[in-house]
C-alpha cells in the first residue's frame, strides 16, 4: 500500500457517491417530468369526489301569473353517520324515535339507504314539525350527529286544481336515468307527467356541483370547486285559474247532482262517475282550462307515494283518478259529431245550406239487408229541416240520410262489401283531427279512431279474432253520421274540431304552455308559439250554415235552449251542440253495460268565435241535462258574461 492509497480510495468513494446521486436525480426526472402526466391523473382520481345538489324547480303559473305550483321550504332530519360513534348513533336514534313517535327500526332502515355517501347526511325524517327541528338544533348533546336540513319541495296552493295538467314530480327511475345519464343522477327528482314532465328541461335548472378533495379514508378534506345550483325557469300556462276552478267545481257538482236523477229508461239513477272539460282559445289553440274528474292531489307525490296508493290511483274500479280523461278518455261523440257530418256534406257539395229533408222520425235504408230502420232518439219527427235546423233540434233522420248518401258516394261500391272505398266524409273527419293524436304540448293525448272501410279491412286482416267484421255496410255510414258505431273520440279532439270550424279551418296542436320566464318573475326566456297542425279553408257556404245551426241550438226549439235560458244573447251570442251517446255494450236483456254519455260543445261569441268549451260526462244521461249546464257555467266565466268567480 502506498501513502497515497487512502487518498485514491477516498476519490473512488467520492465517485460512487456522485453516481448514486446521479441515479436518484435521473429517476426523479423520469418520474416527475417525463411521466408526470399519467401519475397526475392517478392522483386526481385518487383524491376527488363530486357531490351534486338539486336546483330548486321553477314555478308553474297560470296565464295571469298566479302561482299554481311553487316551492316550499320544509325541515328534514338527517344523520351524519361519519361524524358519530355507534354508541352516539344509538342515543340519537332512541331520542329521535321518542321525539317523533317513529319506530327506531324504521329510522335504522332509512339509514341503510344505498344512495348514502359519507359526504352528505342521510335523511331519516321528512316534513318534520319546525318546533321539533329547532328543539334538535338546541340539544346537540342529546342528538349527536343529527342535523336538520331545509328541503325545497313542491307545493300546490290550489291542491288538486288542474292536477292532470300540472302533473307530478317523483324520484327518477332506472329507465328515465338510463335515457339521459348525462343530466341525471340516482335520487334526482323529475317531472313524471303533465307540465312537470313536458317542461322538465325548463323547470329543472342546473344542479350545484361541489368537488371535494377527499382523504384515503374517504373523509372530505376541503372543497376544491363549488358551483351553486341555478334555479329552474318558471313556466307560464295558458290555463286561466278562475276558468279552471269553475270548470272543476261545476263538473264535480253536476256529476254529483246527476246521481240523484233517473235514467231515461227509468231503470235506475245515473251513475255519473266521471267527466271532463276542455276549454280552448280557437284563435291560438291555447288550452284555457282542462279538467278531469275524479282527480288526485299531486302533493301526495311530494314525499314519494306508496305502491298501494299508486295502484289505488290507477285502478279502473276507482275511476283511475290519475287518468286525464280530457286527453285520453275515449267516447262515442253522439250528436256532437253532426258537426263533422255537416261539414263533410257541405264541403263535398252533397248538400247546401238550403237543402232540406223531411224528418218523419224514422229512417229506412234503401236496398237494405239486415238492420234497416233507424229512428230519432224519441222517435218523433221534426218535419222539414235544413242542415242548420237539423243541428238545432238534433234531427237524426236528416243525418241518417246524409250517412246513406255518403255510402253511395264511396269511390267503389260493389256487391262485395269488402271492396268499398273512401269518401269525403272520411277526409273531413281526418281534417278535423279525428283518428290522430292532437299533438298537445304536454302529451298524453290519445288518437281515438274513426272507422272507414280500408281501416276495417286492415284491422280484420291483422287481428281476425278481435275484429271479426271485414265488410263495410250502408248501416255503418248511417250510424257514423250521428256519432255512433265504430267511433272513438277524446274530449280534446272534439273541442279542437269545433275550434277548427269556428276559426274557419285552422286546426292547431293545442298548447298548455304559454311562455318560459326566468325564475322569480324575470324576463321571458322563450314563448311557446301556436302550432298549426292542419290548414283548410272553410268557405262561407260551408261554415255559415253550421255556425247558424250551432247558434240556434241555444235558442227556441234548440236542444241546448233550456240549459242556456236567460243567457244574455244580445251581449254575447253563444252556440253549441248537445250529444247523448250510447256507451258500453248491449247485453242480452237489451240494456247496455254503461249509461249514456252526456256531451256538449259550446262556442262563443258566434260573431267572432274565441272560446270552445267541450264537456263530456260519463253515465250522466242527456247532453242537454248534464253537460250543457256545465258548459254554460264555464262559458259564463271565460266570456266574462256570467262569472261565477269575480
Amino acid at each position: 500500500m502506498t501513502v497515497d492509497s487512502p487518498r485514491l480510495r477516498i476519490g473512488v468513494y467520492g465517485v460512487v457517491v456522485v453516481s448514486l446521486f446521479a441515479a436518484l436525480l435521473a429517476r426523479l426526472w423520469y418520474l416527475q417530468v417525463l411521466s408526470a402526466e399519467e401519475f397526475q391523473v392517478a392522483a386526481i382520481t385518487n383524491a376527488e369526489r363530486v357531490v351534486y345538489e338539486e336546483a330548486p324547480r321553477g314555478r308553474i303559473l297560470d296565464r295571469n301569473s298566479v302561482e299554481l305550483v311553487r316551492n316550499r321550504v320544509s325541515q328534514s332530519v338527517a344523520i351524519d353517520t361519519a361524524e358519530v360513534s355507534s354508541a352516539e348513533l344509538q342515543t340519537s336514534l332512541n331520542n329521535l324515535s321518542s321525539l317523533f313517535g317513529v319506530e327506531k327500526s324504521v329510522l335504522e332502515d332509512r339509514l341503510e339507504d344505498p344512495r348514502a355517501t359519507p359526504y352528505t347526511a342521510i335523511t331519516v325524517l321528512e316534513e318534520v314539525d319546525e318546533v321539533k327541528a329547532v328543539h334538535i338544533g338546541e340539544r346537540q348533546d342529546e342528538y349527536p350527529g343529527v342535523v336538520t336540513l331545509d328541503v325545497t319541495t313542491r307545493e300546490y296552493p290550489y291542491g288538486s286544481l288542474a292536477a292532470h295538467v300540472l302533473g307530478y314530480v317523483g324520484e327518477i327511475n332506472d329507465t328515465e336515468l338510463a335515457a339521459d345519464p348525462e343530466t341525471y343522477r340516482p335520487g334526482d327528482h323529475v317531472g313524471k307527467s303533465g307540465v312537470e314532465q313536458a317542461y322538465e328541461a325548463d323547470l329543472r335548472g342546473t344542479p350545484g356541483r361541489t368537488v371535494y378533495e377527499v382523504g384515503a379514508d374517504g373523509v372530505p378534506l376541503r372543497v376544491k370547486e363549488r358551483t351553486a345550483p341555478v334555479p329552474g325557469d318558471d313556466v307560464v300556462l295558458s290555463i286561466d285559474l278562475k276558468v279552471q276552478q269553475v270548470a272543476e267545481q261545476s263538473l264535480e257538482a253536476t256529476l254529483i247532482e246527476r246521481r240523484s236523477t233517473a235514467t231515461d229508461d227509468k231503470t235506475g239513477l245515473h251513475k255519473a262517475d266521471a267527466g271532463s272539460v276542455v276549454v280552448l282559445d280557437d284563435t291560438t289553440g291555447e288550452v284555457i282550462a282542462m279538467a278531469s274528474w275524479p282527480t288526485y292531489d299531486p302533493g301526495e307525490f311530494v314525499d314519494g307515494i306508496s305502491q298501494a296508493r299508486y295502484e289505488e290511483l290507477t285502478d279502473e274500479g276507482n275511476g283511475a283518478p290519475l287518468t286525464n280523461r280530457a286527453t285520453s278518455g275515449g267516447y262515442a261523440p253522439g250528436s256532437t259529431w253532426k258537426l263533422v257530418t255537416a261539414t263533410a256534406a257541405l264541403q263535398s257539395g252533397l248538400i247546401t245550406g238550403a237543402s232540406t229533408y223531411d224528418d218523419r222520425g224514422t229512417y229506412e235504408i234503401p236496398d237494405c239487408e239486415a238492420q234497416c230502420e233507424f229512428q230519432n232518439i224519441d222517435g218523433v219527427g221534426s218535419g222539414r229541416v235544413n242542415v242548420s235546423t237539423a243541428l238545432q233540434v238534433s234531427s237524426d233522420v236528416f243525418f241518417y240520410d246524409l250517412g246513406y248518401r255518403f255510402y253511395r258516394e264511396r269511390e267503389s261500391i260493389s256487391e262485395d262489401r269488402n271492396e268499398v272505398g273512401g269518401n269525403a266524409f272520411d277526409d273531413t273527419a281526418e281534417q278535423l283531427g279525428f283518428g290522430a293524436s292532437p299533438g298537445l304540448d304536454i302529451g298524453g293525448d290519445a288518437a281515438g279512431s274513426v272507422a272507414n272501410p280500408e281501416q276495417r279491412r286492415s284491422l280484420h286482416d291483422q287481428y281476425p279474432d278481435k275484429f271479426p267484421t271485414r265488410a263495410w255496410y250502408p248501416g255503418d255510414d248511417v250510424n257514423l253520421a250521428i256519432g255512433q258505431g265504430d267511433l272513438v273520440v277524446t274530449p280534446l279532439q272534439l273541442a279542437n274540431a269545433y275550434a277548427t270550424v269556428a276559426n274557419g279551418g285552422t286546426r292547431f296542436s293545442p298548447n298548455v304552455g304559454l311562455e318560459v320566464r326566468e325564475p322569480g318573475g324575470g324576463p321571458t326566456v322563450r314563448t311557446v308559439a301556436p302550432r298549426v297542425a292542419n290548414q283548410t279553408v272553410l268557405s262561407a257556404e260551408v261554415r255559415d250554415p253550421i255556425m247558424t245551426g250551432l247558434s240556434l241550438v241555444t235558442t227556441g226549439q234548440g236542444t241546448g235552449a233550456g240549459a242556456f235560458a236567460g243567457w244574455p244573447r244580445a251581449d254575447y251570442e253563444v252556440g253549441g251542440k248537445t250529444g247523448t251517446a250510447e256507451a258500453g255494450n248491449r247485453q242480452a236483456d237489451g240494456t247496455r253495460t254503461k249509461q249514456d254519455t252526456s256531451l256538449f260543445v259550446g262556442v262563443g261569441p258566434m260573431d267572432d268565435p274565441k272560446y270552445v268549451v267541450a264537456v263530456v260526462m260519463e253515465q250522466s244521461g242527456r247532453g242537454a241535462s248534464a253537460a250543457a249546464p256545465v258548459a254554460r257555467a264555464v262559458m259564463g266565466q271565460v266570456s266574462g258574461v256570467e262569472p261565477s268567480i269575480p
Binding site: 487512502p6 468513494y13 457517491v17 436518484l24 392517478a42 378533495e213
Partner: protein, 394 residues
C-alpha cells in the same frame, strides 16, 4: 516533507497553549452546519405538511408532531455540541466502552423491556410517550469502534485484522437481525464496507466480501430465513408494483410503493405548492411523516424542490468527504467515511424506495424524517465530522 516543515514553522507552541480552543473553533465547518440546519428545517416543514390534516381530524394540534421533532432537533444539537467539544481522540480511547454499551442496549431491547413496532422489536419506551431505537445509536458506536481498531494498524488490514473488523460489525448486525430490522442491517453492512475500503482492506478481500454478500442475500431469499413480510418487501421491488391489491401483505406494500410513486410524480417540475399536494393532504401515502417523507417534497415542491433537497445532501456529502481528506489522522478519516456512508446509504435507499428503484426497507431519510433516534444519531455523526474537521491542525 516540506509541507510538514512549513506547517511546523507557522505554528508556535505558545499560540497553541494560550488559545487552543479559540483557534480550533475558527476552523468549524460553517457550510456543513448550514446545510445540516437547512435539511432539518425542510424536515420540519414537510412533517407539518404531512401531519396537519390528519392531526386536525383527530382533534389534535396541527403542530404537535412538528413540536416533537423540534424537541428532537434541540436534543440532537445539544448532543452534537457535546460531541464537538470533546476531542475526537478521546473517543478513540473509549471506543470499546462506547461499543460495548451499544451492544448491551441491543441485547436489552430484545428482552421484554423492548417494544415491538411495525413487526420489529426495536424500541425502548421512554416516559412522555417517546421511543428510543438503540440500533440507531449503535451505528455511530460501530463507526467509532471499527475506525479506532483499523486506524491503529495504519492502513494495513490483513485477513486476520479484517476478520476482527467484520466481527466488530457482526455482533450488532446479528442482534439487530433478531429484532428483525433488515434496513438497519443493510446500513451496518454499508458502513463496514465503506470504512474497510478506506481503511486499506485488500481489494480482493473486498471483492470476495461483496460476492459473499450477494450470495447471502440470494440465499436468504431461497431458504426460509426471512419472514414473509421481509421477503414481500424485497420481491415486490423485483416483481413490480403495478397491481394495487389490498388485503394481503404483498398488496399493501405494492399499494404503498404505488401511492408513493404517484405522489412524487404528481409533483411534476415545480410541484403542487406547499400544503397543496392532494396525495399528501389526503393521507394517501402510508408512513408518510417517517420513511416516506420524501413524497411530500416530491409532490408539493416538484422536481425543483426534490433536486434542491438532494443538492443539500450533496453539499453535506462534499463537506464530509472534504473533512475525511483533511483529517489529521486515519481515525478521523475513517470516522468521516463511516458517517458519510451511514448518511448516504440511507438517503439513497430511502429516496430510491420512494421512487420505486430500491426495495422498501424501513429506513428514515436522515434529518428530514420524523423520529428522534435517527435525528439525534445523525446529528452526533455530523458532530463527529465537525470535531475532526475543526481539529485537523491540532
Amino acid at each position: 516533507m516540506t509541507a510538514v516543515g512549513r506547517r511546523l514553522e507557522r505554528r508556535t507552541p505558545l499560540d497553541n497553549t494560550r488559545r487552543p480552543l479559540e483557534r480550533t473553533w475558527m476552523h468549524l465547518d460553517v457550510v456543513l452546519i448550514v446545510a445540516t440546519g437547512l435539511l432539518a428545517l425542510v424536515g420540519l416543514v414537510m412533517i407539518y405538511s404531512a401531519t396537519r390534516s390528519g392531526l386536525a381530524s383527530q382533534g389534535a394540534s396541527q403542530l404537535s408532531d412538528v413540536r416533537k421533532q423540534l424537541l428532537f432537533l434541540v436534543a440532537g444539537t445539544g448532543l452534537a455540541v457535546v460531541t464537538v467539544v470533546i476531542d475526537h481522540r478521546i473517543f478513540q480511547h473509549y471506543a470499546a466502552v462506547i461499543y460495548l454499551g451499544a451492544v448491551a442496549a441491543l441485547v436489552l431491547v430484545l428482552s421484554p423491556l423492548g417494544v415491538t413496532v411495525n413487526f420489529a422489536q426495536s424500541w425502548f419506551l421512554l416516559p412522555g410517550g417517546f421511543q428510543i431505537q438503540p440500533a440507531e445509536f449503535t451505528k455511530v458506536a460501530v463507526i467509532v469502534m471499527v475506525a479506532a481498531y483499523a486506524s491503529t494498524h495504519e492502513g494495513d488490514l490483513d485477513l486476520r485484522r479484517l476478520a476482527v473488523c467484520l466481527g466488530i460489525g457482526a455482533v450488532p448486525i446479528g442482534l439487530i437481525y433478531l429484532q428483525p430490522d433488515l434496513g438497519s442491517v443493510l446500513v451496518f453492512v454499508a458502513i463496514l464496507m465503506g470504512v474497510l475500503l478506506i481503511a486499506g482492506a485488500r481489494l480482493r478481500h473486498i471483492l470476495v466480501l461483496t460476492l459473499i454478500g450477494v450470495a447471502g442475500v440470494v440465499g436468504m431469499l431461497q431458504m426460509d430465513v426471512l419472514s414473509q413480510y421481509q421477503r414481500d418487501r424485497l420481491t415486490t421491488f423485483v416483481t413490480g408494483d403495478d397491481e394495487v391489491d389490498e388485503g394481503d401483505g404483498l398488496g399493501s406494500i405494492r399499494y404503498q410503493t404505488s401511492q408513493s410513486k404517484t405522489a412524487v410524480a404528481a409533483g411534476g417540475l415545480t410541484g403542487t405548492g406547499l400544503f397543496n399536494g392532494t396525495q399528501t393532504e389526503g393521507g394517501y401515502v402510508p408512513e408518510q411523516r417517517t420513511d416516506f417523507i420524501f413524497t411530500v417534497v416530491g409532490e408539493e415542491l416538484g422536481f425543483v424542490g426534490s433536486a434542491g433537497l438532494l443538492l443539500l445532501y450533496g453539499v453535506v456529502a462534499w463537506r464530509i468527504l472534504r473533512a475525511a481528506r483533511l483529517a489529521r489522522d486515519l481515525f478521523g478519516t475513517l470516522i468521516c467515511i463511516g458517517v458519510l456512508t451511514m448518511l448516504m446509504f440511507q438517503v439513497f435507499e430511502n429516496v430510491g424506495m420512494t421512487m420505486g428503484i430500491m426495495p422498501v426497507t424501513g429506513l428514515p431519510l436522515p434529518l428530514v424524517s420524523y423520529g428522534g433516534s435517527s435525528m439525534v444519531t445523525t446529528l452526533i455523526g455530523i458532530g463527529l465530522v465537525l470535531n475532526i474537521h475543526m481539529r485537523r491542525f491540532t
